[in-house]
Amino acid sequence: MAKVLMKGNEAFGEGAIRAGCRFYFGYPITPQSELAHFLAKRMPEVGGTFLQAESELASINMVFGAAGAGARAMTSSSGPGISLMQEGISFIACAELPCVIVNIMRGGPGLGNIAPVQSDYFQATRGGGHGDYRLIVLAPSSVQEIIDLIREAFDLAEKYLNPVLMLGDGLLGQMMEPMELNEEKNFFIPPRPWAASGRMGGPKRIINTLYIVPEEAEKHNLKLNQKYKKIEANEQRWENYQTEGAQLVLVAFGTAARICMGVVDYCRDQGLPVGLIRPITLWPFPVKAFDSILSLDTVHYFLSVEMSTGQMIEDVRLAVNGRRPVFFYGRYGGMLPVLTDVVKEVKKLLLEEEP
């Protein structure tokens, strides 16, 4: 099949349609607007619904309604908009409804800027809103991976009845790469006995998040937690890049991972033993990747490379659990790590740090 050149933001949209999503609700915000523009055109072509809401509060609650009624629904936004959505996301997680949310991260805090960052990592991986819940968080690093992963996002959302967040950044959203499109009609939408879609002769369904009796709320929290444990056990995804024989292992996701692949290529050309772990699921964090690489005994240290002041590094440290030193390199506020700067940092660690 011939490859198609597409922007990352458009690939999210096309991928969603090819995954059977027919309902999109959203509010404009840079740098994710191409996704909305694309779906505004594309949804009517497939008989779907594109609706521009009056706010992100409304769009996530429209997703709540459509998902609860049994539809495959999604929304997308960027930092400030995702912050507004947190109330609704908490409700959706509590009510155990499937949906996909795309966050094309932009510089923050506050209004920040529209440049690419990864500083919404904590918000994405710790639940984000109020209460004890988790989102499945997928972090593609290429346009091809966007279109492949968003289909998986809808399937995971339904498998676990849990919202899935796809985390990208302005660069990934704007970037164009050729990719192969997956088959359009090859999606399966499982039956939804839980959907409040009108009784139509059947039993009553309630989509609810109120558990006024603490004993019942504890039970519900326990049920959710058991689900999260299952996801942690089954759904960790990552890519090892040139990790064989690596003494220094970089850890990076999304755009930072692409830059780090360049760093690894450059270092390997110079004979430096450097590799990369690229987490694809940020939650569950791929702890298994670290367990297996540490069993090889060649790794001396880890370097977490992020477009933030250091958020994922906390998960890297938890995964490494004191077995090796973990260092950090980051750029912030929309500045990208420069390949040669990371190489410098790598050389410094390899030459100066005692293993």
């Binding site: 050149l5 840079t30 164009m176 050729p178 692409r258 360049g262 390949l339």
Partner: protein, 186 residues
């Protein structure tokens, strides 16, 4: 072998589309391609640039921070990116809007007065594709035929006239240095 190109100019010159044209041509060639824009919040009038990488190997970092070839459509772009070009790299300068010479001795510099040539073609806006045609000729990063074929991807079919005009622009840019080379040889 040229793999990475940085196209730079001011907003409204068609820099991003020219980069996309190159990316489409690379895609048609079956290569690995990345196109990454970088522009200000303003839609027009600001600086605009994009980086294109075309390679037969998978592309690790899509960010073109040290281009092998730079296409500078105006003076501020040249000043901003001149030093980032790799040693032995190429800079194609739109001499219609850049009235200075480049001091660097370790790069190949080619000057083309694209706006003048564009006016000869009857439309100032195609200057960018004249320079792109020149860049394609000088780097062989893709074939000119595939670039011409890709015009249909960048312009909607209803813009047949624009496609024909830009085809002439690409060719004019390529021929400019072809003639120059032949003149020198002759």
């Amino acid at each position: 072998m040229f793999e990475s190109v940085l196209l730079a100019g001011f907003g409204g010159q068609g820099i991003l589309s020219a980069g996309q044209l190159l990316a489409y041509a690379g895609t048609l060639a079956g290569k690995h391609v990345t196109w990454v824009p970088s522009y200000g919040a303003e839609m027009r009038g600001g600086t605009a640039n994009c980086g294109v990488t075309i390679s037969s190997r998978p592309i690790s970092s899509p960010i073109v921070s040290e281009p092998e070839a730079l296409m500078a459509m105006n003076r501020p772009s040249l000043e901003k990116f001149e030093q980032s070009v790799v040693s032995n790299g190429l800079i194609v300068v739109n001499s219609s809007l850049v009235n200075c010479k480049i001091a660097r001795k370790d790069v190949q510099v080619m000057y083309i007065s694209a706006n003048k040539l564009a006016e000869e073609l009857g439309n100032n806006k195609v200057a960018v594709n004249i320079v792109l045609g020149a860049l394609i000729f000088l780097t062989q990063i893709v074939s000119l035929e595939l670039a011409i074929e890709s015009l249909g991807k960048v312009f909607p079919p209803r813009h047949q006239k624009l496609i024909a005009l830009n085809q002439r622009a690409l060719k004019a840019g390529a021929q400019f240095f072809d003639h120059l080379a032949k003149e020198k040889a002759g």
